[in-house]
């Protein structure tokens, strides 16, 4: 599995894991993110059961497993967190931060030891060592209980399914040419995202943040001016397309 450092400073690092060559063909490709600050790590949207071994193998190249003190699940989907039952065996003392809405649902993946820390609808934050991470509400984009993670110091927004693209294995990790990337995102956003109102509200709030990297859970990372291009494109896009069908 590919691992790339997205940000590195004296205080902390952001890593992205993805493009697992051993991934079964018919499951959707996912990006997993990890923030490492001193002897603590937060693993974000750790992925599905099928990806678990590759993910853990990649993680122990970076940090001892017991340093993963926190997990974050942006929402309840299986590609986000169906590996929970296995992480539960590996990280009995960890905490899972996830929307309060999904606790009873996520526990179906198996969680006996990890502590569930519900995130209220209005959001919240997590101190990872000296790094402050904010849980930014992104409800109905696409899940009805959904959060992004924002790091003001690194200027990174982990945006979950927002900005996602569906494309063949082996795609680059970053968007190079925004215009040619649009066809890879369009169906996903039009069909998976249900609410134009939620979309507009999220764009308004996110435009107030200083973002250098926008990191979705599928597809490629947006850097620099591509972040603004994405927000403009998304703003103009009509979502909830199944209703029109």
């Amino acid at each position: 599995m590919l691992c790339k450092v997205l940000y590195s400073s004296q205080s902390h690092r952001w890593l992205v894991f993805g493009r697992d060559p051993d991934k079964p063909e018919k499951i959707v490709d996912t990006n997993q993110y990890m923030v490492v600050a001193d002897d603590q790590a937060l693993l974000m949207d750790p992925g599905g059961i099928e990806l678990f071994s590759a993910m853990l193998a990649s993680v122990v190249r970076e940090v001892p497993v017991e340093n993963i003190r926190h997990l974050f699940a942006s929402h309840q989907d299986p590609d986000i967190i169906s590996s929970l039952g296995l992480w539960d065996k590996a990280l009995p003392d960890a905490k899972l931060h996830s929307p309060w809405l999904w606790e009873g649902f996520i526990r179906h993946f198996g969680m006996e030891q990890i502590e569930f820390c519900p995130i209220e609808d209005r959001g919240g934050h997590l101190n990872l060592g000296k790094v402050n991470l904010e849980f930014i509400p992104a409800h109905y984009l696409h899940s009805s209980g959904n959060f992004n993670v924002y790091d003001a110091q690194a200027k990174i927004l982990m945006s979950g399914d927002i900005g996602a693209a569906l494309e063949p294995m082996g795609a680059p990790m970053e968007v190079e040419d925004f215009a040619s990337h649009i066809p890879k995102m369009e169906l996903f956003h039009r069909r998976w995202m249900p609410s134009n109102r939620a979309k507009a509200d999220w764009i308004r709030r996110v435009r107030e943040l200083d973002i250098e990297l926008l990191c979705p859970q599928h597809g490629r990372v947006f850097r620099g001016e591509n972040v603004a291009k994405f927000l403009d494109w998304f703003e103009a896009l009509e979502v909830g397309s199944a209703i029109e069908a």
């Binding site: 678990f52 071994s53 590759a54 853990l56 193998a57 122990v60 190249r61 065996k89 009995p92």
Partner: protein
């Protein structure tokens, strides 16, 4: 008993389902026994022997229902234990893959305590499963033994029915047949459970 596999929780769940069906039949026997008791009362002195037998029929039904409930509970617990064990085994397999994939990783040693802990959990679950299996096996044997008396009861019911006045003997014979039929049905469920169980033990 050797290591579990993922079939164990299916077998345990099937045993629970079989005994649930047996319990439903046993409840029918209980109803048959109260009808028979009313009939025997109406038949008067000539059915005094049959009246005594209805108490045994009722007793058999009570024991079967009670035992079925116990077996059902044990089988459900076993199914859960086997599921948890399968999950622990799955985790162990995946940790094994991690060890191979990341043999040279800087922090690979950090998964050793995870492996040891999960192996211990699996061993504990194995012991729990074995204990539950022993109890369930004993309960199945006990109910099978009880059901053997049902054949005797049925034969005695027929004899007693033949000694009552003709207007009641036919109906009491039907009761005897119902008891025999119900007992045979329960026996089939129990024997099937026993055969499933012996497969499970052989594994």
């Amino acid at each position: 008993m050797e290591a579990h596999n993922s079939n164990h929780f299916v077998i345990a769940a099937t045993v629970a389902a079989e005994l649930f069906k047996a319990m439903a039949v046993a409840k029918d026997i209980s109803l048959t026994a109260s009808n028979a008791r009313a009939l025997a009362l109406r038949a008067g002195q000539s059915a005094a022997g049959f009246r005594a037998i209805t108490d045994f029929i009722d007793g058999l039904a009570t024991i079967t229902v009670h035992s079925s409930k116990t077996i059902n509970r044990l089988a459900a617990q076993m199914s859960r234990t086997a599921s948890e064990s399968a999950r622990a085994e799955d985790a162990l397999n995946r940790f094994g893959i991690v060890k191979n994939k990341a043999a040279s990783a800087d922090y690979i040693a950090s998964i050793e305590p995870v492996l040891i802990r999960t192996q211990q959990q699996k061993n504990d679950l194995q012991h729990t499963f074995d204990r539950q299996a022993y109890l369930l096996h004993a309960e199945l044997d006990a109910i099978a033994k009880e059901l053997r008396t049902a054949t005797v009861l049925s034969a005695m019911s027929r004899i007693e029915a033949s000694q009552t006045s003709p207007e009641y003997s036919e109906q009491l014979n039907v009761v005897a047949s119902n008891v025999a039929e119900a007992a045979a049905t329960i026996q089939r469920h129990v024997q099937y459970s026993q055969s499933l169980f012996s497969n499970l033990i052989r594994k």
